[in-house]
């Protein structure tokens, strides 16, 4: 802790200096290959590409050439509960649980090299670099807080989401094509939820945040998929009646098709 204090101070001083100067030294210009992913019957996931470039201006220190990038993609937020089973009276039952509040249903973190090489642990924590540092608010009794990365519920939550490919991180996914031009892929498996996705791009140099920018894309149902989804939500009774009628027709048709006697 004591050893890290000067670094933290340096970081704070730099942050203050950046906030004070109105004109930033660098600017990030980014674009996603598709801002509107449409879900059709044959949709089975997609891979988007994020392109961008670092624009320098007169104020940019000439010595600054090595940039680091961290891209965070977060999907629509939802409340989730993680439960833990324990053995009671010879059977395994859910005994303890934690509620995660408004956490991203999809979360992907991509960078050009390991976080430890990009910034100090303090900056990593403050800038939420990596799944271990992302803010996941839990309700613990009456309190709302995030906990240490080693917390059993937190790590189980991240592990389970990662197993379903909904949370992921890759510290070599961002590639610099030239010293200022970069790209990264955003894989979206078919299971990812429908909704709006925020993409946050943070630029680091010499272990500190230089600038950041945001963009977004959405995954929407169109055509048939959209028709079914909206009808089910808005005309529940009619939808149910049609489904039930469909069931009876299917049953009746089968008995005619397969009638032998």
């Amino acid at each position: 802790m004591i050893a890290r204090a000067p670094l933290t101070l340096a970081g704070l001083a730099l942050g203050a200096a950046l906030a004070a100067s109105p004109a930033q030294a660098e600017r990030l210009i980014v674009s996603v290959s598709n801002h509107r992913v449409t879900v059709t019957p044959n949709y089975s996931g997609e891979e988007l590409v994020l392109f961008g470039s670092v624009e320098k201006d007169a104020q940019t220190p000439a010595s600054r050439t090595n940039y680091d990038l961290v891209v965070t993609v977060s999907g629509p937020r939802a409340d989730m509960v993680t439960r833990r089973k324990e053995r009671r009276f010879g059977i395994w039952i859910n005994t303890d649980s934690r509620q995660f509040l408004k956490v991203p249903s999809y979360l992907a973190l991509f960078s050009n090299r390991p976080y430890d090489a990009i910034a100090s642990p303090e900056v990593q924590r403050r800038q939420q670099l990596g799944l271990n540092n992302v803010l996941l608010t839990q309700r613990v009794g009456p309190d709302y807080a995030d906990v240490v990365p080693e917390d059993a519920f937190r790590s189980a939550f991240i592990r389970l989401r990662s197993e379903h490919r909904l949370y992921r991180e890759n510290t070599s996914a961002v590639t610099f094509l030239t010293p200022t031009l970069f790209r990264t892929g955003i894989p979206l498996p078919g299971e990812v939820p429908i909704g709006t996705y925020d993409v946050e791009i943070k630029l680091f140099a010499d272990g500190a945040l230089v600038t950041r920018t945001e963009t977004a894309f959405e995954i929407v149902k169109v055509g048939f998929e959209q028709f079914i989804a909206t009808t089910a939500r808005q005309n529940g009774l009619a939808y149910g009646l049609v489904t039930a009628f469909m069931a009876l027709m299917t049953g009746w048709m089968a008995s005619i098709v397969f009638r032998k006697d």
């Binding site: 010879g90 939550f157 009774l237």
Partner: protein
Amino acid sequence: MQLYLPIADIPVNVFLILAMGAAVGFVSGMFGIGGGFLMTPLLIFVGIAPAVAVASVASHIAASSFSGAISYWRRRAIDPLLAAVLLIGGTIGTALGVWTFTLLRSLGQLDLMIALSYVILLTTVGGLMFWEGLRAMLRARRGGPVARRKPGSHGWIHGLPLKLRFKRSKIYLSVIPVIAVGLVIGFIGAVMGIGGGFILVPLMIYVLRVPTSTVIGTSMVLTLVTMVFATLLHAVTNHLVDAVLALILMIGGVTGAQFGARAGQKIRGEHLRLLLGLLVLAVGVRFAIELVIRPEDLFTIRETGGAG
């Protein structure tokens, strides 16, 4: 062939779902059970959210039981009066069950209650049916007369008032136990989220002494009506019925159910009961193992709401 399901929100392999529908349909046609207790876990295994699976399975069961019911009707293997009286009890039971379900949920530990009742119910019913089927088979093997209990030898049920003649089944029985059986099935179905056919069939055979010839067809009618209402209820209250998923399941299900019904007619009654007993017992044991063995992962995640 991948297809994106509009309500379940995931892509699935159409042929896999078709095959699952056909397999469960075969079993349901053969034994006259809905098969929800088999289908729902299968869908959850494929990755469909449990709530969507339960809601969509209801319409799948409606389709396969309707196709099964038609072929049983042609064989005059349905007792309409018996079905109607059972339905009266079933309706009351469902209402009581929904009320109990809400009560249990407010107390917490609903999942455990459901798992425990599955284990107790399935292993007991399955075990009894298996044992009875085995004994009947052994008796037949030994060449002795298949000693069906003499009519009238089981006292109190036949001593009840309000007797009715169920012509198709050739039984003369008080409506009180029939309504009671319907009530139990409706109650269990609503609390545990299953059609209850696999409990109804043995109850009809052993408690009501309905001949095996009309048991399956009649139980299918009950399943059909319950599941049509369940579909409507799920569609109106939680909008989670996936019509596309349901249609694929149905097409597989009705095909399977036709072959199942044919196979069921060929198999001798006691063999059929033995097989059904074995199946129910196996599912019960599976649930029991799940409770007793240390789970591979002690943690589970469930979405509880928020911006979706």
